[in-house]
């Protein structure tokens, strides 16, 4: 008899069991498939449409931002060494008038050899090359061609407005190529050598560092050799300040994943490890649950196994048959997991703050051979893990006894129960560990959100502003920003409004090194560029001197406001007013005021030294944020601000306006994600544990119905029966609670980098977890225990 056919028949016969098993595995597998898909896309999937991706390496000096100028790219290209060539690119948002709609899309400004070096093929027309330096030509993505141009085959040669200027479409990139960061795919590519007005003055200078650079190693060259060959060049292509504090030119493989650069990749690896640990634990709970079910089912099938043995079946054949059944379940669970993983990814995006959902991030899973192969491999592993022991135990049947007496025909019955108990304890322990982790993360998140900052963002709404279009002059752009700010100030209910490029706790903060040219003191400091009214809007007290005023606008090279920490670092015990600071550029800035510390790298960090410049030359490229304070409810204001921005920038189709707290949440993404993932995982674990306890206890009671009947016939009360049944379940949970709490606290102690003012052994969290788990366990045990207490002794004894 074909094992597979039998397995199908068994599953059809026990539809309830099969459905529960597939659901349990499906949930566990979905979490793993979703995480695998995301991690694969972020770190390991070869860049779509790129030839020989493993030869590509990104060049960077970690934590020094955009590293290369066109000059330095030329130096690299002249002395290629172990590399075939180098290419540069920069990512930005651009206003496109395409397919009868104006929209802001992600673009890459690329060097002439960008496509050639990547080995990308055109889908239609041709791609940009070295001869296209200054021509207004654009290559569009396959996705943009599909969605905005209705897959028109004659698109090549058509005009497209880029930042208000006419560009000619020379080609469509191959399907699958979405630029160097495919999780946020690029829609169009332009030359990085475009003249004014397509690129601003700043980008025209060949010495301006604005490009990311990657190289293609010669065939057969090892990464270490390629790195070594770059060392002699670093003094020619980098500034001395970039090499301070052990900085050096790094080469990191960038042909796979979506995060070019070592620093980004290491962060994502850490997150991936965390996510995988959590979802593997969920799958472990699901496996333990299924193994419990299979063990119980094995007991019910001992007569069938005994008959088969009596008819001559060798044990290995029966083990194989049982394993095939588990494999079938597991494969169906895997299939369910593939389907559920789509929802898993959608749930994962809920962990992202609302603001980040407004970005064009493509987290959709691609169901190719990598994901399907992973699911298949995981299904096989799960089948072995879940099925082997139950199959081994299930065929340990005393054939003679099993065929004579159905209730006592099982040899090692005591051990079976012990194994099932062990499985329950391990499920409880893992779930409790997840609950402790999730609980501690939630506590930490709550501590962060409830802490008192040195500024006040209640009743403030924020929106991110657009970058300056190439077609817009600096003066025009400044006028648009000024008018937007003035209009915002006149909105009903608005008390103050301001612009700022790096408001406190909002993502994108950057630091620089500053010094006093007179006394030589220097300090690392966060930098902010703001309009007058910024401190008032965020209620940052000016403790010395004055705030920026309208007369400072346009004189931004001259004046600076520092915070107390920076003042203490540069001029300890002295009056900072009138002093000068020097950073990056040649100009010195005179201190006109000192404000309270409100500079944060993140919400979990203490305040840092910082200084503020008045908006002027430094923000002429646009960007930054509009912050508006109201004395009233922020809800109506959000809509009004959105309308203002839409009027000022028509390409900003859906400006995202939110309470300041939502933007602060972006900075808490690691904590939020950890809390969300752990919370979801522990909820699944809790549900599985409850189901597992219910199943085991129900089975235990079914097995003992006759014994319970006899006991009741001999005078045992319902209370006694119920207590003994509850005790059985709760004692297992208690053991699991102790083990799981210890494991959870140990695990949480390794999350100290994301914990804020919260102990891994937080008593309130541990107590909450105990109450939650005990409550769930009591509920799961109470139902079968009540059934046991309702056993009619006469019926129970007659049925035997």
């Amino acid at each position: 008899m074909n094992d597979l056919k039998l397995a199908f028949r068994q599953l059809l016969k026990n539809k309830g069991f099969a459905l529960v098993a597939i659901l349990i595995l499906g949930v566990g597998m979905a979490a793993n498939t979703a995480v695998f898909g995301l991690v694969d896309a972020a770190l390991y999937r070869p860049l779509g449409g790129v030839g020989k991706p493993d030869e590509l390496v990104a060049l960077e000096v970690p934590n020094r931002g955009a590293t290369f100028s066109r000059d330095s790219l030329d130096v690299l290209r002249e002395s290629k060494g172990t590399f075939q060539d180098f290419a540069g690119y920069d990512r930005g948002s651009t206003l496109l008038f395409a397919g009868n709609a104006q929209t802001r899309v992600q673009t890459e400004f690329v060097s002439g050899n960008f496509f050639t070096l990547l080995g990308v093929k055109p889908f239609l027309g041709r791609l940009l090359d070295e001869s296209d330096r200054s021509a207004p030509l654009v290559v569009i993505s396959h996705r943009l061609w599909r969605t905005r141009f209705d897959s028109a085959r004659d698109i090549v040669g058509h005009k497209l407005e880029v930042n208000g200027e006419p560009f000619t479409i020379v080609g469509v990139a191959d399907d699958g190529f979405g630029g160097m960061q495919p999780l946020a795919p690029v829609s169009a590519w332009l030359s990085c050598e475009l003249p004014k007005p397509h690129l601003p003055d700043w980008n025209q200078k060949r010495s301006t560092r604005w490009l990311a650079v990657f190289g293609r190693m010669k065939p057969g060259v090892a990464l270490a050799a390629a790195r070594d060959s770059l060392l002699p060049l670093q003094s020619q292509v980098l500034e001395p300040w970039m090499l301070q504090n052990n900085g050096s030119l790094q080469a990191t493989p960038c042909g796979r994943g979506a995060i070019p650069g070592a620093s980004g990749q290491s962060g994502v690896r850490l997150i991936s490890l965390f996510l995988f640990t959590v979802v593997v634990l969920v799958l472990a709970v699901a496996c333990a649950n299924l193994a419990s079910l299979l063990l119980s089912r094995g007991l019910n099938r001992r007569r069938e196994i005994a008959i088969r043995m009596a008819l001559g079946a060798p044990r290995w054949l029966l083990i194989r048959q049982l394993l095939v059944e588990t494999l079938l379940l597991s494969l169906m669970g895997g299939l369910g997991g593939l389907v559920l993983s789509t929802w898993g990814v959608r749930l994962a995006t809920l962990a992202l703050p609302k603001i980040s959902r407004s970005y064009d991030i493509d987290l959709s899973l691609r169901y190719d051979w990598r994901i399907i192969g992973f699911t298949l491999a995981a299904s096989l592993l799960v089948a072995l893990v879940c099925g082997l022991i139950p199959a081994w135990r299930g065929t340990q049947v005393d054939c003679q006894a099993a065929l004579k007496d159905e209730t006592l025909g099982i040899g090692p019955r005591r051990r079976w129960f012990e194994l099932r108990n062990l499985l329950i304890v391990s499920q409880v322990a893992v779930s409790v560990a997840l609950l402790v982790g999730g609980g501690v993360m939630l506590r930490s998140l709550s501590q962060i959100q409830n802490q008192k900052f040195a500024f006040d963002y209640d009743h403030c709404v924020v929106t991110a502003l657009w970058d300056k279009d190439a077609a817009t002059s600096d003066a025009e752009h400044a006028r648009m920003r000024r008018e937007l700010l003035e209009s915002a100030r006149t909105l009903p209910g608005v008390t103050t409004a301001a612009l700022g490029n790096h408001p406190p706790l909002v993502m994108g903060t950057r630091s620089t090194s500053v010094s006093d040219p007179q006394n030589g003191n220097s300090s690392e400091a966060l930098i902010g560029v703001v309009t007058p009214g910024f401190f008032e809007t965020l209620k940052i007290p000016v403790v010395l001197g004055r705030d920026f005023s309208v007369r400072d606008v346009g004189h931004s090279n001259d004046v600076v406001v520092v915070n107390e920490s920076l003042a203490a670092n540069l001029w300890p015990g002295q009056n900072p007013l009138g002093r000068s600071i020097h950073y990056d550029r040649d100009t010195d800035y005179q201190v006109i005021g000192v404000v309270r510390d409100a500079c944060y790298w993140s919400a979990t960090d203490t305040t840092r030294p910082g200084f503020y410049l008045c908006e002027g030359e430094l923000t002429r490229d646009g960007g930054g944020y509009l912050i508006v304070r109201t004395a009233q409810d922020t809800r109506p204001l959000r809509g009004l601000v959105a309308s203002l921005v839409r009027r000022a920038d028509p390409g900003h189709e859906q400006p995202y306006v939110a309470d300041y707290a939502d933007f602060v949440a972006v900075g808490l993404i690691a904590q939020r994600t950890a809390a969300w993932v752990l919370g979801l995982a522990s909820a699944i674990g809790l549900a599985l544990v409850a189901a597992g306890l219910y199943g085991v206890l129900s089975y235990h009671i079914a097995q003992r119905t006759r014994e319970i009947g006899i006991r009741m016939a001999l005078g045992a009360g319902r209370g006694h029966v119920m207590r003994s049944m509850l005790w059985r379940g709760i004692s297992l949970v208690a053991i699991g609670l102790v083990i799981g709490s210890a494991v959870g606290v140990f695990g949480a102690s390794h999350m100290d980098k994301v914990l804020f003012k919260t102990s891994p052994a937080d008593p309130a969290t541990l107590l909450g977890v105990c109450v939650l788990m005990t409550g769930a366990a009591l509920l799961a045990c109470w139902l079968p225990a009540r059934r046991a207490a309702r056993v009619d002794p006469m019926v129970a004894l007659r049925s035997e």
Partner: protein
């Protein structure tokens, strides 16, 4: 065909072991139709299991077709069982998930018989037992007598030389029981050695020999 010498079987209990079979010495010839009788707890079914090679925790000597079962390991005993033994149970023990045809096929599949040969043997057996029409029915669609008929067919399909039956009519009414016993008689006439356990003198009358057990001892 079967030779038992001083067979003893016991369970370890305190303070002393409990004996189920005591010094059983017995010879069975090919073509015998033997009935083991005795009160409950006499050791009848234990002796039957021992003869069927399902039990190996005993002492003494057991020779089957001249081969020393007592010195065989589990694998060798299993091979011998497959080759020579068919078993009929009181509770039929048909596999409920399989049709009548598949139930008949199972012992052959465990004996590595080729599929085409199995199909032919199953068809022959269905015909021989008059159950062709039941081929695609499941056990729960059959009466008790029909189920036992299928169980007997399943026990003999692999052409065992020894057919063991543990109270084969215990769960049947008298007409069905009689039909099964007549079937046994016919099989015995065709050359199959049969050993059955029964409480019924009527059933025992179908055989040519009765062995009586009491408290594990063979009654002379």
């Amino acid at each position: 065909m079967i030779k038992l010498l001083n067979i003893e079987k016991s369970f370890p209990t305190r303070p002393s072991p409990t004996y189920v079979l005591r010094q059983i010495t017995l010879d069975l010839e090919e073509g015998d139709f033997v009935t083991i009788m005795g009160p409950s707890g006499a050791g009848k079914s234990t002796l039957l299991s021992l003869l069927g090679l399902y039990d190996h925790t005993w002492e003494g000597e057991y020779w089957l077709h001249g081969q020393p079962v007592h010195s065989m390991n589990g694998k060798e005993r299993a091979a011998l069982n497959k080759k020579h033994v068919g078993f009929v149970f009181q509770q039929f023990h048909l596999l409920e998930d399989l049709t009548v045809g598949e139930n008949l096929d199972i012992p052959l599949s465990y004996r590595d018989v080729r599929k085409s040969e199995r199909q032919a043997l199953v068809a022959d057996t269905l015909d021989r037992f008059g159950i062709v029409a039941k081929k695609d029915l499941f056990p729960n669609q059959l009466s008790g007598g029909q189920q036992q008929l299928v169980a007997v067919a399943r026990a003999v399909i692999a052409k065992p030389s020894l057919l063991l039956a543990d109270e084969p009519t215990g769960n049947l009414h008298s007409d069905q029981g009689r039909a099964i016993m007549e079937l046994f008689k016919r099989l015995n006439d065709e050359g199959t050695t049969i050993v059955q356990v029964s409480h019924s003198e009527t059933n025992a009358a179908y055989g040519n020999r009765i062995i009586r057990l009491r408290d594990g001892w063979l009654e002379k």
